[in-house]
Point group: none
Chain length 239, copies 2
DNA sequence: GGGGCTTCGTAACGGGGTGTAACAGGATCG
DNA sequence: CGATCCTGTTACACCCCGTTACGAAGCCCC
């Protein structure tokens, strides 16, 4: 993978230099940019793994830029803004930003977010991949988003029960994100209390259908003491 | 075909404006609406090709509105919700929504869904719809509303018994709406007790006549633990 | 390293819901 | 009156899914 390449976009020079310097000292390759056009230049010039985008760019609007970038590119975007109002935060997510940080921010927090987004982005395209129209592809499998069946990498149709289908949907909606049994149960609409091992059995049965070796799951992994996660080859060491 | 005309329904003004603006800039004709009554006004005023319907509409329930709209209109509906719980998603499908998007969403994803649903709708008209003169068409079948027979997609006449005809009428009057056995029995005029499996048998026998594969019904579906529904999500068949 | 505890996988069981074959009573019609 | 059709009931099989029980694996602490 090599060193992650960040594009830092901020029209305020002091801020831009501070960010660039800090991130470089943290081990990233950083390309600074001051305005919209420079973004396009940088993207045209070489690989960029993540964009750190200031919302207030003088006469330009970072949110709009974000939306525009999202239309043509897939790389993750973190919005940075002095406005901490929550509706602004929402506006950020609504245009597809991967995260949002309010200024002034704790440098460590920024680092953590950058790394988290990079890690997520690094794996997401490879294993789980959301298609338009509610369709999903994951690890060679394909799920059409509505029927109670999935198509194996080899093209076979595998029937799922209703509950298994719902579990799969929950997982696909949260790829690479650890889910506790409680969260899964809630997402499945289980009202009452955590009724023992129901989720475990669900997982086991879904595994039996989609894992080539259910004993050594590669898609639906167990996080001991935590829950389950879809296709994260997350070694817990890199917290 | 011309420009597609969308109806955006959301009671939150900021969200409504954002959606309206974004979709207009994406080339659609957009009519905004804030509540249920405004939907009827817009529908009465002119052609609408697709409805983007927020599930949380203050005191109104988008899912119910969806079901109601489905009873009288056939245009596609995309439900938008902040609730990502999957059973909510199911509730959306069961009332006949064509797709479902969780907030916050990626605008590009929204665009893709809107286009996909429009394309699909343009090609295949809604599964169940009411025709003038009390006539019905569903999944290629045709029922004239009077005689005890239906016409298959291929043009064959298939005789129905009196009771089967009544069941079909009940279902056609409530397309995409889950009906419990009790509701069906009541609609059929069955007084007194819920006499066990009578409705089941009725359903089975009607299926034997109108489903190409009664073992895997596509028109008259079972909702386990709930009841039956006419053609709930059949319109989602391809991408 | 080892004992003991916790967590997890899974085989087995059982209850509930549904499909459907078979049957029987009733209606219809010649 | 007899044949046929319609329709509800019954019985049985099947599937789904949560529970339980037990063994294996992981983790902690000494």
């Amino acid at each position: 993978m090599g060193i992650a390449r960040l594009l830092v976009v901020d029209d305020d020079e002091e801020m831009r230099l501070m960010l660039t310097d800090f991130l470089r000292r943290s081990g990233f390759h950083v390309t600074p940019a001051a305005c919209g056009p420079e973004i396009e230049q940088a993207l045209a010039r070489g690989r960029i793994d993540l964009i750190l985008l200031d919302v207030m760019l003088g006469d330009e609007n970072g949110v709009e830029i974000c939306a525009r970038l999202r239309r043509d590119h897939e790389m993750p975007i973190i919005l940075v803004s002095a406005l901490s109002a929550d509706h602004q935060r929402m506006a950020g997510y609504e245009v597809g930003a991967d995260d949002y940080i309010a200024k002034p921010f704790n440098p460590e927090l920024l680092l953590a977010r950058v790394r988290a987004v990079l890690k997520r982005a690094r794996r997401t395209p490879s294993l789980v991949y959301r298609r338009s129209g509610g369709q999903f592809a994951f690890a060679g499998w394909h799920y059409d988003g509505k029927r109670d069946e999935v198509t194996s990498p080899a093209g076979f149709q595998v029937a799922l029960s209703r509950r298994e289908t719902e579990l799969l949907k929950v997982l696909l909606a949260n790829p690479h994100i650890p889910l506790s049994r409680e969260e899964i149960a809630e997402a499945l609409g289980d009202e009452g209390e955590a009724s023992g091992r129901a989720i475990d059995m669900l997982v086991t049965r879904l595994r039996a259908k989609i894992e080539s070796d259910p004993k050594a799951p590669e898609i639906l992994k167990t996080l001991r003491g935590t829950g389950y996660v879809l296709a994260a080859d997350v070694s817990l060491s890199e917290a």
